[in-house]
């Protein structure tokens, strides 16, 4: 019921707005970058709409419930990335005239091999980023509306691919810009309502966190995956017929798919390997990753991954290409920082209220649903249902907007870079990419949205961040250097994640550096790229190719200029003379 009311309008509006883009779609450029006619304000709203994914709308608050106030560093890193982008990448990237990141790699270094490698990296990043979006769509619908998990996943996949197949980037732009303001509204209004409804006692408890040790009221916990609980003495559960049965003390293996009702006053069991919400260190503003006891190191590696990763996210970079010129791209970045800052002032409210009202979610590993679970805890009547509906709609808008950009960039990588083709092939690639992601998301429901998305950021930070920064600001970059650097970053980051999944018997700072490798993988990729480039020689046109990125559009038109000076246009020696003159000047000036 609630699903139909919350999700159907969002999907419908997405499709309707998407239809607006259909009329003017003829070329790959139309499809991928909306013919580069998008104004900074519209574009920054679209960037923000695309960027505020499941990880931002639900994940941050969920991580606050689970890991503590330190999880609020994620939004700081997410926003800071756009300042790095503004300072280093935005304008030069747009001036390259490329359509995608692999396109840029070829425009700067003229290497088809690098282009193919970059396209593979794009696919890895968008896979890591897309799976949690679809997965959270399924999870939220199963929590709110009691649908099976796969229904939400399939709805998300279908809505995204239909919008894109019909309207491409132009459709995506309007949809994402609309959805940003929609999400902002649907995030702020329930937050204010919750704050006024919870009453002074809960507000005080929220500001003075205590450890979650016992259930304050009868609480049903649904375990979707099998977990191991440590049952303290005195714990009990309520049988379906209402009688209270004491639980045996010690380890308790709960099978997946079971719902357990704990009666009010029962001590809460502990989840093996996790600290309870509100426990020691929860209120510290540092992120103790995996409870290893190195909170500062954990915080810094998350910040490095999110900040530097934002700079290399292919779907965000592609949005910058829809700007008319470099100056507009820069303004887009600044407006995006402002819009995101407004949004990110609110997740902590959901987080600290969730600590008080829904701490039991951590037992089943479903803290991602804390935001949508809150209204029902505060008001069991119509208003609670209404606000649950609003938040579900907002969360669904978040999945859709982000998935639109990611599916677009993935299909662009397949059909524009790996197997070049026309518009029809792009549309087929969209459907194919969405189908593959749906299949990947179906078995992935045990992963936190935050974890997988941060892995996507880390891969972007270790591959595209060095490629873009060195490609734009260092003329000495060579093709072997770029290829080996990108490959090193890709292997280092994905290798560390694979090791983490195998759960090696390491602890302390080694575990942090494996689970969150940005702090060493990014410098390593930079170092490999630089050293290998220093051993080779950049081609003679490299300096001119780099400088072209920094030349603003704010100058006389090239053609008018040539006619005015009446240079020997059409003379057979012109092109040779021109390139040697450029070479001479750049050799003299760039040092």
């Amino acid at each position: 019921m609630i699903t139909a009311f919350a999700v159907a309008p969002v999907v419908l509006v997405t499709l309707l707005i998407g239809l607006r883009g259909v009329a003017a779609m003829r070329t790959t450029s139309d499809f991928l970058v909306a013919s580069r006619r998008v104004s900074p304000l519209l574009n920054s709203a679209a960037v923000s709409g695309e960027y505020l994914s499941a990880a931002s709308f639900l994940g941050v608050a969920g991580l606050v419930v689970k890991d503590g106030i330190g999880a609020l560093w994620y939004p700081v890193g997410f926003t800071a990335g756009y300042i790095a982008m503004l300072a280093l990448v935005a304008a030069p990237m747009r001036r390259s005239g490329a359509l995608t990141v692999p396109d840029f790699a070829e425009a700067r270094l003229a290497s088809p091999a690098l282009r193919k490698l970059a396209a593979v990296v794009v696919l890895v990043i968008s896979g890591l980023y897309l799976v949690p979006q679809f997965r959270t769509a399924g999870l939220v619908l199963s929590v709110v509306g009691e649908q099976p998990y796969w229904v939400g996943v399939v709805i998300a996949g279908a809505a995204v691919s239909i919008t894109l197949v019909l309207g491409g980037m132009r459709a995506a732009t309007y949809v994402q810009a609309f959805q940003f303001f929609f999400k902002l509204l649907l995030f702020i209004v329930p937050a204010v309502w919750l704050l006024t409804q919870v009453g002074p006692q809960v507000r005080t408890e929220a500001l003075h966190p205590v450890e979650f040790t016992h259930f304050e009221r009868d609480t049903a916990v649904t375990f979707r995956v099998p977990v191991t609980l440590e049952v303290p003495p005195g714990a009990a559960l309520r049988e379906p017929d209402g009688t209270i049965r004491p639980l045996p003390e010690g380890e308790w293996q709960v099978p997946g798919g079971r719902t357990v009702v704990f009666p009010a006053g029962s001590p809460a069991p502990d989840l093996a390997g996790e600290a309870a919400p509100g426990g020691p260190g929860w209120e510290r503003p540092l992120l103790d990753l995996a409870e290893t006891g190195y909170p500062l190191l954990g915080t810094l590696s998350v910040l490095a991954a999110t900040m530097l990763g934002t700079m290399g996210l292919p779907h965000v970079l592609m949005r910058f290409h829809t700007s008319p010129d470099g100056r507009a791209a820069r303004r887009t970045a600044v407006l995006t920082v402002a819009l995101l800052s407004v949004f990110y002032l609110f997740p902590w409210i959901y987080g600290v209220l969730g600590r008080v009202l829904v701490p039991h979610l951590y037992l089943s590993g479903a803290t991602d649903t804390a935001v949508v679970a809150l209204p029902a805890q505060v008001d069991t009547g119509a208003w609670g249902t209404f606000f649950t509906g609003l938040l579900t709609a907002g969360a669904f808008a978040a999945f859709l907007a982000t998935s639109l950009g990611l599916v677009l960039v993935a299909s662009g990588a397949i059909s524009h870079d790996l197997v070049p083709g026309g518009l029809r092939q792009l549309r087929v690639a969209v459907v194919g990419a969405a189908a593959v992601v749906v299949l990947l998301a179906l078995p992935a429901f045990r992963f936190d949205a935050g974890t997988l998305v941060t892995w996507g950021f880390t891969v972007a930070a270790a591959t595209f961040c060095p490629l873009l920064v060195l490609g734009i600001w260092w003329r000495g970059l060579t093709v072997p250097g770029a290829i080996s650097g990108v490959a090193t970053g890709l292997i280092a980051s994905t290798g560390a994640f694979t090791l983490t999944l195998l759960d090696p018997p390491v602890g302390g700072w080694v575990a942090i550096l494996l689970a969150q490798p940005a702090l060493w993988a990014v410098p390593l990729a930079f170092a490999v790229m630089t050293v290998v480039s220093l051993f080779g020689r950049p081609p003679p046109w490299a300096a001119a190719a780099m400088l072209r990125l920094h030349l603003d559009e704010n100058r006389r038109s090239l053609i008018a200029d040539r006619q005015a000076v009446a240079r020997d246009l059409g003379h057979s020696s012109w092109s040779a003379r021109r390139s040697s003159a450029v070479r001479r000047i750049t050799r003299r000036l760039v040092r």
Partner: protein, 119 residues
């Protein structure tokens, strides 16, 4: 006979699209016009200095703040309107600071381009 020759009629956009597809393949990055080269070098150098400064400030803010909070745990006890100061330092403070930094960097970058004059 000549009057019967068939001519393909395509819109300019379609022709452009076809041309773009045919152009794909090996290519060399376009070179600069000599008149623009010196201007590009000046812009490159000016923007490099300015970007480096903005980036240094950003790193100081983003990486300095956690170090500061780790060094002074007393900030957890200090409260402003009932909210711990260290929470405000994470959840609220960085955002206005980052908006200001971004705005400042944009103005400097655009001024650099304006100061170079139109060509």
């Amino acid at each position: 006979m000549t009057t019967n020759r068939r001519v393909a009629v395509t819109s300019p956009q379609t022709r452009l699209a076809h041309a773009r597809r045919r152009h794909r393949g090996r290519w060399r990055p376009a070179t600069l016009d000599p008149a623009d080269a010196e201007r590009a070098v000046r812009l490159y150098r000016a923007q490099r200095t300015r970007s480096a400064l903005a980036l240094a400030l950003l790193f100081a803010l983003v990486f300095g703040l956690p170090v500061l909070l780790a060094a002074f745990p007393a900030l957890d006890e200090l409260r402003l309107l009932g909210i711990p100061v260290s929470w405000i330092a994470v959840a609220v403070l960085p955002f206005p600071a980052m908006v200001t930094l971004a705005w400042w960097q944009l103005r400097r970058a655009e001024r650099t381009e304006d100061a170079e004059g139109p060509g």
